[in-house]
């Protein structure tokens, strides 16, 4: 059977060069970064080299990079660490309604700790309006966190404009750039942000490797207390292989950035145009143009996402869905609901995410495989038969 992995949003594969860059730090150079002997020196060199490469990918300085174990950790660190460091100035925080749960749930925790959180809504494309962010700012607003792009619907936010609005208020601006770093250009200076989260497994690096970029001079409360690792901000023995892999992935991403988007966008566009053509009642979710190059997201009406996902899997195609049934919490995607989609349509969510290993044949295979799957599920859907009856009734 043909195997087509179109779930790069869940994780990308690790590039062979990245794996090669990691292996020495398991085998020979296994020292602890903090040790004062040759073994320690080798590990330290690897970590500092990676720090430089990651910084270079996002236009920051090496000493502004704090390595973490995931994008989720970086977001937790940013939200809680920055809020706690600034609480004497105020207790108001602003986030968007479509942030990743690692931001939204951190904000919830901060509410329990006595902070106040405002959620800025999005439009039907998932876009955050910079004016709405500006209007949500108060004298006591200390922190704003708006994502660079939403991986579920692909919408890329006007971060520069939002950052500009926030800057005037004196609040700190953090952006979750997990979906964009390594995929589209990310430049912290150009964007005008104060803090930025990234994760290695979104751009062909290993899982368990993330980073928080924090502008020089911005105070943060340490996330893990302990030793002096990561400038005392994130204690714990450094995961040298993971960090080395992240560095290599960053280096490769920087060199191949333009080629990546060029390779992915035609695949995305072919599917975005092709699927609604080959199947009736399919809605493209997310923004038509401000969109991640590898993201093609849809809602297929009258049927449910998990059932589609399973039937696609039986044909060798791996995808994601934001339906209630696919989430362990059994709730439909908060992103689609925030964009104003009714629940029954959000249930039909399906997300194809392309990567460097994807091909135009993969798109053809999806376009050929999807219609019978949708047809089969619609044939057993009470919503579809209701729709057909209503349509018939209307025609009379």
């Amino acid at each position: 059977m043909r195997e087509v992995y179109l779930d790069h949003v869940a994780t990308t594969p690790v590039l062979p060069e990245v794996l090669e860059a990691m292996l020495p730090y398991f085998r020979d150079a296994y020292g602890n970064v903090q040790s004062l002997h040759n073994w320690g020196d080798k590990a330290r060199e690897a970590v500092e080299e990676a720090r430089g490469k990651v910084a270079s990918l996002i236009g920051g300085e090496a000493e502004e990079i704090i390595f973490t174990a995931s994008g989720t950790e970086s977001n937790n660190f940013a939200l809680k660490g920055l809020a706690m460091a600034r609480q004497s100035k105020g207790k108001h925080i602003v986030v968007s309604a479509i942030e990743h749960f690692s931001v939204l749930h951190s904000a919830k925790t901060l509410e329990k700790w006595g902070f106040e959180v405002t959620e800025v809504p999005v439009d039907k494309y998932g876009l955050v309006d910079p004016d709405k962010v500006a209007r949500s700012l108060r004298k006591d607003t200390i922190l704003v966190s708006i994502m660079h792009a939403n991986s579920e619907v692909g919408t890329v936010e006007p971060i520069k404009e939002i950052a500009g609005a926030v800057k005037k208020s004196g609040a700190i601006f953090h952006t979750d750039a997990v979906a964009t770093t390594g995929t589209i250009p990310v430049d912290v200076k150009e964007m005008g942000v104060d803090a930025l989260s990234l994760a290695g497994n979104q751009f062909y690096g290993p899982k368990g490797a993330g980073a928080l970029w924090l502008k020089k001079g911005v105070r943060i409360i340490p996330f893990l207390d302990g030793g002096v690792q990561e400038g005392g901000k994130r204690a714990g023995t450094e995961d040298v292989p993971a960090i080395a892999g992240l560095g290599k992935a960053a280096e490769i991403a920087k060199a191949g950035m333009a080629a990546r988007a060029k390779r992915l966008s035609p695949l995305r566009d072919k599917l975005l145009a092709g699927l609604p053509k080959s199947i009736e009642h399919v809605i493209v979710t997310g923004h038509p143009t401000r969109r991640l190059p590898g993201n093609a997201s849809f809602c297929v009406e009258f049927i449910e996402g998990e059932a589609m996902l399973m039937l696609l899997n039986s044909k060798g195609i791996a995808v994601s869905s934001g339906s209630a049934c696919t989430s362990r919490a059994l709730k439909a995607s908060h992103v689609l609901i925030a964009m104003g989609l009714p629940h029954e349509i959000a249930q039909g969510s399906l997300l194809f995410s392309f990567g460097l290993d994807s091909s135009v044949e993969d798109v053809d295979y999806v376009l050929e495989t999807m219609p019978p799957i949708v047809d089969r599920l619609r044939q057993m859907s009470p919503l579809y038969s209701k729709f057909l009856k209503e349509q018939k009734g209307g025609k009379k």
Binding site: A324, C325, T326, P382, L383
Partner: protein
């Protein structure tokens, strides 16, 4: 490890008795798209037995497998027997469901029960009016 066991996958991949019955003796609808699952069961009744059962289901893999299993369990049973089909029994017949999907199995048995209730209500009405006609 896959989320669903082989039995559930079999009923999901090859659901039995899918469809509608045009002149059904009883119809039962449960669920709503907000929670993710919706099922409509149709039954034909002959001599107090369920002679035919069909359904339409909007929902996840478990919801479809549950509907299929309920339809198999109900076919040929007396109405009293069929009413004893519980979510727990359905899950047992399917050799287990993931814990967070367990609520889906509630719907299948519930929808069948509603269809039987619907039949019994209509039937007793019809019997009454028949009686009334004889007077």
């Amino acid at each position: 490890m896959p989320v669903y066991n082989e039995k559930v996958m079999d009923h999901f991949m090859n659901p039995r008795n899918v469809g509608e019955i045009d002149n059904a003796d009883g119809v039962g609808e449960v669920g709503n798209p907000v929670c993710g699952d919706m099922m409509t069961f149709y039954i034909k009744v002959k001599d107090n037995h369920i002679s035919d059962v069909k359904y339409k289901t909007f929902g996840c893999g478990a919801a479809i497998a549950v509907s299929s299993m309920v339809s198999e369990m109900a076919k040929g049973k007396t109405l009293e027997e069929a009413k004893k089909i519980t979510p727990a029994l359905v899950a047992k017949q399917l050799k287990g469901l993931p814990s967070n999907k367990y609520h889906c199995s509630n719907l299948g048995a519930q929808a069948l029960n509603k269809a039987i209730d619907n039949y019994q209500k209509e039937h007793s009405k019809a019997a009454k009016s028949k009686k009334g006609g004889k007077k």
